[in-house]
């Protein structure tokens, strides 16, 4: 007779007994039975990625290449589920007898709904999507790498997960992108999501090095996208609460490929990809006002140059466009060449995946190239069915030279967009300024500053050598079916050498670099992870199961840098800092440690209603000394309504409702709480101390609370999948930099927890299998998300200004654009603005400057559309569009091209200036002129940046087997495609995504002085043996 116990005492009894069992004994093994079978899809083909698992238990197996699986189970009745990415889960019941074999086959249907796939979780063991009440975006990386035009990780992530914005801020090869998940949530901390590869945290810095503006290096792109099996994005605090005190901005979890448990042989794949790139952007023309130096447009002095006139004012201009003129245009056809191969295989107890890839990319600017070598070796050992050991190791060696660009007088952009026509050479080879002045002019000599021939820029180095090694070891122990333990350790080691150099050149046009200069920086980054977790699964009642998970984690992140600067060299061969006339050395070190532990309790009712609660405690070395540990609670619920026996709605075959709440934290930047003094020196020989940071011993973490709710639905037999989420998050105690009065002696800001930022929005995606016939398959995916960010409280008496065009102010989006706004103005007969006619809009930011908010740099809504057509099961055509809207961008390349003085020899300016009276409205003209005189009118150069981009187009062909057999290969794939095909936008600058700040982790967005992503065509071939 079974003794009835209440669920709670059963729970405590189970827990107590479980503990006792752990410490004393090993599990019993009565004689077992065998369960075996095949998992196939509706065409009869094996589903090679499928897994078969006993519901409510940790026992499971992955099928082999033929779709077979085998499980050893104790006698009893079980519910067994088979699932695979892209297919609907199937659950069947089976009874096992001791010593006997039972066959159970599964037939899986392709599904657009991913209800039962395994999703990443901080807890040990496997978690399926249906159990989790938060929205986790998953990208099937292998499929997307095949179907999409993707060469690096950022491109793989772009537009494939709702509300994950990846902005490719420049078109240089080897440059990084800015990644944001659900908007801006911190003003002083990092908005970069955490990056976890195979269970261990890895370095996710962007834009640390170099003084190039628009292009920056990003550690996100080191990983080879072909090695990735899946990418998951954990978006908001309701989910990230379990990931620690740095996870508020989101977590990107990458799982790399593993081998298969094929019993014999191995599978080898080799391939190559070749492509070329073209810059197809129109760059604006430069104008130089030569009116004072000539008698008219027909003056003989101007015979060698193109001339333009402003009929209203009678001004005569010489024009040039060094970026577009065939005789000076620096662009070349860029090239991409890639060679790759991988080997995978295994046996019963062991499987492996190894890969190698070499890329040689040449960008469209002559000095831009990137060489990259990637190796990976992933092993999985299964010495028994209770112990699994996964070791994943990856190595990247890359060398990238970015073209000098940005707001540098030694860059391509400043010498192209803002190059001075006065320095241009006419058709006869003479220099304009010399011809006009009649004598040698400094515009025509080597110190002409903002204008150098592009051949002088080409040798300039912005060279980054990276050696990166990431290793992770995951040991999974399942001593009994109801318990799984995981131990993860890992290290991410990056050694980087960055060189910023202007080589010696006797004719160098940049006077500040006469004699050459060479800056070397060698950051060594180490990220270590240790993670222990355990999960107990048990039954409280027949219909009520529970899981208790707990774990502890340790993270350490260290950067140690030694650098030097050398000035003035004897020639261009001796380049070490030692060889310079003046050599300076520097060093720096920073270390951050985080430890945490969590406890999670989940109840599942009949496998369709799940309720989870969790609590995490963290401590972080960057907190002020008065701060204690941080507690982060979270809770979520998931209800698969369609699994209710009473569910009768035919056309909705799957419906899951979910809701979640959580509080995550963001630790302050390391050292932000310290009061510090720095060294000063007298006569270079005696050391002094000088105040620097006022510090704040009470500095605590930012607390990010979120509520999220939504649903996942499958309609018409899961041919259509619909996901919807609404989120609302508030970041309290947001750290803001408060200025202290300079008369205190401390020049730097004090970090205080005073602010509050709110974010809310919707995320939705629609996946449809429009056609699913033998000869024709057509799928489409539509994504849509909205993000509204606002600084609801700043806590300071004045706003924080970022440069002169952006602000962090209460009531507005972080980094909002500001300007004084002229509402009306009038011109006189000569085209000049009548000063008394200028009228301003009312309003003020509170600082008396008369500036108001005129826009924001982050989009309020993003959409993407991806569709794939497969003909005859062989030929696949796929394309991706995306759109961002609701934001504005300040264009410095339009603003920056304005005259230094309103008359006289000066730098180039553009159409708007040259033809102020005809190309601009009186208001625009008044704004430009007032900006020139007083500043603060940047609004005339802030434009709507909405755009639609046609990003990718791919065509791929699966070669028929009779042809591949001739090559000895089991399969072959031919493919080709294009990237960055078209941009539809009203933005008048070069490109609405180009950002002079690149992928730097800050709020600055300024378009200009950066070249956008070029049009790329590529083709490739892979062979599998």
């Amino acid at each position: 007779m079974r003794v009835r116990r209440s669920p709670w005492s059963a729970f405590t009894a189970s827990a107590a007994v479980a503990l006792a069992a752990l410490l004393c004994a090993a599990p019993a093994r009565a004689q077992q039975g065998t369960l075996q079978g095949t998992v196939s899809d509706q065409t009869g083909a094996a589903v090679a990625s499928a897994s078969v698992r006993v519901v409510g238990s940790e026992k499971g197996a992955i099928v082999d290449a033929q779709g077979h699986y085998t499980l050893q189970l104790a006698p009893g009745t079980y519910r067994v589920a088979a699932q695979a990415l892209g297919y609907r889960r199937v659950v069947k019941s089976v009874t096992i007898e001791a010593g006997q074999a039972q066959t159970l086959d599964f037939l899986l249907q392709v599904s657009a709904v991913q209800l039962d796939e395994v999703v990443a979780s901080v807890t040990a063991g496997q978690t399926s999507r249906r159990e989790v009440g938060t929205d986790i975006a998953t990208i099937d990386a292998s499929k997307q790498v095949e179907e999409g035009a993707v060469t690096n990780f950022s491109q793989l992530l772009h537009a494939r997960a709702t509300n994950v914005t990846v902005t490719e801020t420049s078109g240089a090869v080897g440059a990084g992108s800015r990644i944001r998940v659900r908007g801006i949530n911190t003003l002083t901390g990092s908005n970069n999501p955490l990056l976890i590869i195979d269970g261990v945290r890895v370095d996710n810095e962007t834009g640390l090095l170099g003084i190039n503006r628009g292009q920056t290096f990003s550690r996100f792109n080191d990983i080879n996208p072909q090695d990735i099996k899946s990418i998951e994005v954990v978006k908001g605090p309701s989910a990230t609460a379990l990931y620690g005190s740095e996870a508020s901005p989101g977590v990107i979890i990458i799982t790399t490929k593993s081998g298969s448990s094929e019993k014999t042989g191995m599978k080898a794949t080799i391939g190559t990809e070749q492509g070329f790139m073209r810059d197809v952007t129109s760059y604006p023309t430069n104008y130089a006002d030569v009116t004072p130096y000539v008698s008219g447009a027909n003056d003989s002095k101007l015979s060698q140059w193109p001339v333009a006139t402003n009929s209203t004012t009678g001004q005569v201009f010489v024009t040039d466009n060094p970026l577009m003129d065939a005789s000076t245009r620096p662009f070349r056809t860029g090239q991409q060449a890639g060679f790759f191969g991988n080997l995978r295989g295994g046996s019963d107890n062991f499987s492996y995946y190894t890969s190698a890839r070499f890329d040689d990319d040449q960008g469209v600017l002559p000095s831009n190239y990137s060489h990259k070598l990637d190796f990976r070796a992933n092993f999985q050992g299964r010495p028994s069915d209770i112990l699994t050991e996964d070791v994943s190791a990856g190595y990247t060696s890359s060398k990238t030279n970015l073209p000098k660009s940005g707001n540098n007088t030694s860059g391509y952009a400043a010498n192209g967009f803002a190059g001075r026509p006065f320095s241009s050479l006419g058709t006869g080879g003479e220099c304009l300024a010399t011809v006009l002045a009649g004598t040698a002019s400094s515009f025509c000599d080597k110190n002409g500053n903002v204008r150098a021939g592009f051949d002088k820029i080409k040798p300039i180095l912005s060279l980054d050598n990276v050696e990166r090694f990431t290793i992770s070891s995951i040991t999974t122990l399942t001593p009994v079916s109801w318990m799984v333990n995981t131990a993860k350790v890992g290290a991410d080691i990056t050694n980087e050498t960055f060189q910023d150099a202007i080589p010696y050149d006797p004719d160098i046009p940049f006077s500040f670099a006469a004699g050459g200069q060479n800056f070397l920086t060698t950051p060594q980054t180490r990220t270590y992870t240790a993670d222990l977790s355990t999960r107990l699964s048990y039954k409280l009642r027949d219909d009520l199961r529970a899981q208790t998970s707990g774990g502890a984690q340790y993270f350490q992140h260290r950067i140690s840098t030694v650098s030097c600067q050398g000035y003035v060299f004897p020639n261009d061969k001796a380049t070490a800092c030692d060889a310079a006339v003046t050599g300076l050395g520097f060093s720096d070190f920073t270390e951050k440690v985080e430890i945490g532990a969590y406890l999670q309790q989940r109840f599942s009712y009949n496998d369709y209603l799940f309720v989870t609660g969790a609590l995490r405690v963290d401590d972080n070395s960057s907190l002020g000394s008065q701060q204690g540990a941080i507690w982060s609670p979270s809770a979520n619920a998931s209800f698969v309504v369609s699994d209710l026996p009473s569910w009768k709605v035919d056309f909705i075959n799957e419906l899951r409702l979910r809701a979640a709440w959580g509080e995550a934290t963001q630790a302050p930047p390391q050292y932000a709480a310290d009061r510090t003094y720095v060294t000063s020196a007298l006569h270079g020989s005696t050391a002094g101390l000088s105040p620097q940071d006022p510090g704040n011993t009470n500095l605590g973490p930012e607390r990010d609370k979120e509520f999220e709710a939504g649903f996942n639905a499958g309609l018409w037999d899961s041919r259509v999948g619909l996901d919807f989420t609404y989120y609302d998050r508030t970041s309290n105690d947001a750290i803001v930099p408060r200025s202290v009065a300079p008369s205190t002696g401390f020049p730097n800001v004090q970090y205080v927890n005073l602010g509050q930022i709110k974010n809310h929005g919707f995320e939705a995606s629609l996946d449809a299998q429009l056609l699913q016939r033998d000869n024709l398959a057509w799928t489409a995916r539509l994504q849509w998300s909205t993000t509204h960010s606002k600084v609801t409280e700043l806590g300071l008496s004045t706003p924080i200004f970022l440069g002169f065009s952006q602000v962090i102010a209460q009531g507005y989006a972080p980094g909002a654009y500001i300007s004084r706004v002229i509402t009306s103005a009038a011109r006189d007969a000569n085209g000049n603005i009548i000063p008394s006619s200028i009228q301003y809009s009312a309003g003020d930011l509170g600082d008396g400057s008369g500036r108001v908010v005129v826009g924001q740099p982050t989009p309020t809504n993003t959409e993407s559309f991806q569709t794939t057509v497969t003909l005859l099961g062989r030929l696949t055509l796929s394309t991706l569009f995306d759109r961002e809207a609701g934001h504005q961008v300040y264009s410095t390349e339009i603003a920056g091209r304005n005259p230094n003085n309103l008359g006289g020899i000066n730098s180039s300016f553009g159409d708007m200036w040259a033809y102020r009276q005809t190309q601009s409205t009186p208001v625009q003209q008044a704004m430009m002129e007032q900006n020139q005189l007083l500043g603060d009118h940047a609004g005339v150069f802030i434009y709507d940046a909405n755009f639609i981009k046609w990003r990718e187009l791919t065509l791929s062909y699966q070669v028929p087997t009779f042809l591949t057999h001739k090559l000895g290969a089991s399969s072959a794939r031919l493919y080709g495609g294009a990237r960055n095909l078209a941009t539809i936008t009203k933005f008048p600058g070069v490109d609405p995504e180009a950002n002079q700040n690149g992928a730097r982790d800050n709020l600055r967005v300024v378009e200009g002085n950066t070249f956008p992503a070029p049009l790329t065509f590529y083709g490739g071939l892979t062979l599998t043996f």
Partner: protein, 451 residues
Amino acid sequence: MNSTNDATAVTERIQQQRERTMRSPRWGRKLGRYRPSGRIVGTILAGTMLLLTACNQLLDVPPNPKTVPGTELTDPNSLDARMTGAEADFWFAYDMAIVYGGLFTDELVDGTGLTAVDQRRVQPDNGLIGSTDEAPEGIDGLWTPMQRSAATSKSAEVDIGAGSYADRIPDPGNSDAEARMALFAGYSRLILGELFCTTAFDGTGPEYSSAETYQLAADHFTVAIQASNASSDVVYAATVGRARAELQMGDDAKAKADASNVPLDFALIGDVYSTNSEKENNDIWNMLTLSQRFSVGPPFRGLVIDNTSTPDPRVDVFQDPNDQYAIDGSTPLYQSAKYLKADSPIRLASGYEAAYIVAEIDGGQTAVNLINQIRQAQGISQQFSSTNEDSIQAKVRDERRRTLFLEGQRMGDLRRYKARYGLDLFPTGPNFGTETCFPLPNAERDNNPGI
């Protein structure tokens, strides 16, 4: 019976297992090669407990090696570094203050786009003037670096005077250390008073007028002058400083008395700059010769002695034929030979300055004699003579501006000439404003609770 996962079945199984275990001591081997030892699992749990309890040690990270924690400053061993730091704070702010004062007046003109300062229309929200600190890659600020000097020198002066370093400085009130700190506390206030319309100090109010600021400076100078163990350099420099402050306040009698106590050949020269780092460079050299952002203004170019054709050696200004333009490519670049290198020293106070103060106050033959004495000491053979008071005063002004060219005196002088004599010698031009001083920056007004 079907085994299930419920508690009863588990308990029963465990019971059976325990019995089996107790019967067979070699349970590990009996149950297979890869059975986990209970010890492993136990160790994992124990390890987790240990990890959590060892929290605090694990979170100890090395401090930022580029900085010194604030707690170190009260250590008596830090006295030298503190004093050196306070003095360094002054000198590294002073060179840029000279540049800004020169740009605002007629000593320098802009060649980089700093038109607001050059054209005398600086707004209180000007970030460069108000909140920018030392900026090695760009242009240093004005208010913040000089305020740092004012704060550190005063706090060192007060702490020394209060006996915080009694072991090393037994008689603080008369010590050279306190006098030295007071000297720089005075000069930083004096310079801020001459450059800014109003000031504030110590992070608290009130807002001081220029006259009040001069008095604050004079008070610090008095501390230095009265220290009996102070070195003569410090005492003379403080005397010159106090005379300058008193002249600005209109206390002519006191100014003359102080200035008369300074020997003509005295000079305090800050030979403190070096090529070590950009911060330690002489900023006047940097702005004129290295980065070429500013140029010497027209009234100081091509100066000769009186009506001769002899170039005036005190204002040795030249133009490099190979490098004719400032960084904007159009402003003609005139450089000063006074500061030709990154480590060129800057004179802070001199007997010449004291003599000019007396000359301005007394006028007449006294002024003529002083002018000629100074010229003789400077190696200029031409002598000046006149009996017309206006010509004499004009000459005093002219000689003063030449001798003290780019020494941070011009701004105070032009303000005094306008306020006392109604003589407006500030530069003018299209788009120029009418200010005669820098406004109190918003960076101070907004963050100082006392204003």
